[in-house]
Symmetry: C2
Subunit: 339 residues, 2 copies
């Protein structure tokens, strides 16, 4: 085989044996279930503790459920799955590790903050395309209450939220990749470079992630020769209202106008005005459930045929913020197409 | 291409276009530099703060240095590198993200606790072998002081350490993979499954990781048909003295005796008796510097020709431990061979 022959140059690889997303499952909390995308989610929880004694255990259980249900839909058993790719926001990705513990599947743990859905999908697709696997699961999760406790304040404090703040989505999405059948295919993977424009405000992560989102999307166009109008939807992860507008503006400077195709998973998951979610949703689970719920179902119905999923992550920790560090961002893009 | 044709069955893939480890760099703290492997390390720090204001910033700087020096040795620039795979122990892997921020290289963030060196090497090798890249960097780091503060107690408490406890290695190792030249090759990748035998003692992580190490090593033998004597060295990550003995015992139950080939990076990096390191070294950096320092140099000199590197990770967090969870373990194996 020719070396590096699948590279388009830049940050993009083309998948010659594009893996198919043969099943997807989305599970969300009660608040997400009351939002505008309600009818698209496979499972809406009445109780976001799932009967567990902690929110961390609840989050892990949610991911376990998403994986289990996705396998069921694909009519596969865990023994049929060659790899599980997963990550989440919690310290040492315990939601993922404790969910993975329940499956006898070779496991690669990831951390990409809220970019994890497209990170896991990127690596899962690459490993499938390269002939290393027949079936792979990619997943991620987040939980409002475990994230608030870890990154901000315990809920009991009742802290007031900034207008630019985002609301961590309670949810998990899982996909199963395979080679057969008429399903949406992953055709290109554009991997993000860490970008840091010196933003320090942890209550305005959309602004921190916008340069990374813009960079990855522009690179995708340059590497592939594609244009915004080649896609029905370009869905960024969780830039929120403010980050989304900023991203469009940054991309315009490179001569591309994505405003017609651009939706942001963080912006559309809640009715931000009536649900008191400020600038929109965030968290690994945000793009995960918007993709596995809303976008996947529309692809399957052929209402849309070509999308670019660009989950975005803010790569900070409470320690880095307390030490005065700025917030680096990253965004990974995967092109998904239905024939 | 035939689907999944590179799978050996089980947890292993065979690399038909084995990537070569064309450069490696190891950087360690003063204590590691006083240990038995001293002469093998490329760089020994006088000051483990590297002149930075926090141990977290120091750790990130250490990784930055390891990557920079590995690139220099490979005579490559960052623009020549297609992907960077990295992870570390700190919450939200800030050592990796902040090191990655300094390079314009597509970045995949990983979390595998102390298994991260072989996790990053596994994914880097797979992406090379599949034709997706010409050069890839895989790296990880750990720092005694940042890890103590995060996982145990601030150093100022002067807490007494348990006899089974391990000492987090201050160090970072980075490798550059390429396709050309006479260098050690990555030939097989055996990916770990999360194993949890109900161990709860965070001061005895070797015991928590032993079942995972045993499972991955036995799977590697079963999948490939290889035997312990096919390797000059089987190097586990950081099981320490106690975990290593336990692993040998577990593997014997499957009919394999690895005691002649088995070394443990955690056991050999310190003179445990005289350096007061109890059961040995640990941390992502442990197997990273033992591999990039000691093992890589011996491979290059052809003193050894075939090794199996099996970094091992304990997938817990302080939150999971406080919530009464047991400690799941994982181990990833890569076969590395010099012609």
């Amino acid at each position: 085989m020719q070396r590096g022959n699948k590279r388009m140059g830049g940050q993009t690889v083309k998948l010659d044996n594009p893996p198919k997303i043969i099943a997807a499952h989305s599970i969300v909390g009660p608040k997400e279930g009351e939002g505008p995308l309600s009818k698209y989610f496979d499972e809406i929880l009445d109780d976001d503790t799932l009967g567990k004694k902690s929110f961390e255990k609840a989050e892990s259980q949610m991911m376990f459920t998403a994986i289990s249900q996705a396998l069921k839909k694909a009519n596969l058993k865990e023994a049929d799955i060659d790899y599980l790719f997963s990550g989440d926001l919690l310290n040492q990705i315990i939601s993922s590790s404790f969910a993975a513990r329940e499956f006898s599947i070779p496991f690669f743990g990831l951390y990409g903050a809220c970019s994890t859905m497209s990170e896991s999908l990127s690596l899962a697709s690459i490993i499938m395309d390269g002939g290393f696997a027949n079936h792979v699961v990619a997943t991620t999760s987040s939980h409002f209450s475990s994230a608030e406790r870890q990154f901000r304040f315990p809920l009991e404090y009742g802290s007031q939220r900034a207008q630019t703040a985002q609301w961590t989505v309670t949810g998990s999405g899982a996909v199963v990749l395979g080679h057969e059948g008429n399903f949406p295919e992953v055709t290109y993977v554009t991997t993000g470079i860490v970008k840091d424009y010196g933003q320090k405000d942890a209550n305005n992560m959309g602004a921190a992630m916008a340069p990374a989102a813009a960079d990855t999307i522009v690179s995708h166009f340059k590497d592939t020769g594609r244009k915004p109008e080649d896609y029905d939807i370009i869905a960024t992860g969780d830039l929120g209202v403010i980050g989304k507008a900023l991203t469009d503006k940054l991309i315009q400077e490179f001569g591309y106008d994505i405003s017609k195709q651009h939706i942001d998973c963080g912006e559309i998951i809640f009715d931000n005005e009536n649900q008191n979610t400020q600038s929109g949703g965030s968290g690994c689970g945000c793009s995960a459930v918007v993709f596995t719920g809303y976008l996947y179902k529309r692809l399957m119905k052929k209402e849309i045929k070509k999308i670019l999923l660009v989950s975005t992550g803010a790569l900070m920790s409470t320690t880095s913020s307390l030490q005065g560090e700025t917030i680096p961002g990253i965004a990974h893009a995967v092109a998904i197409e239905m024939n």
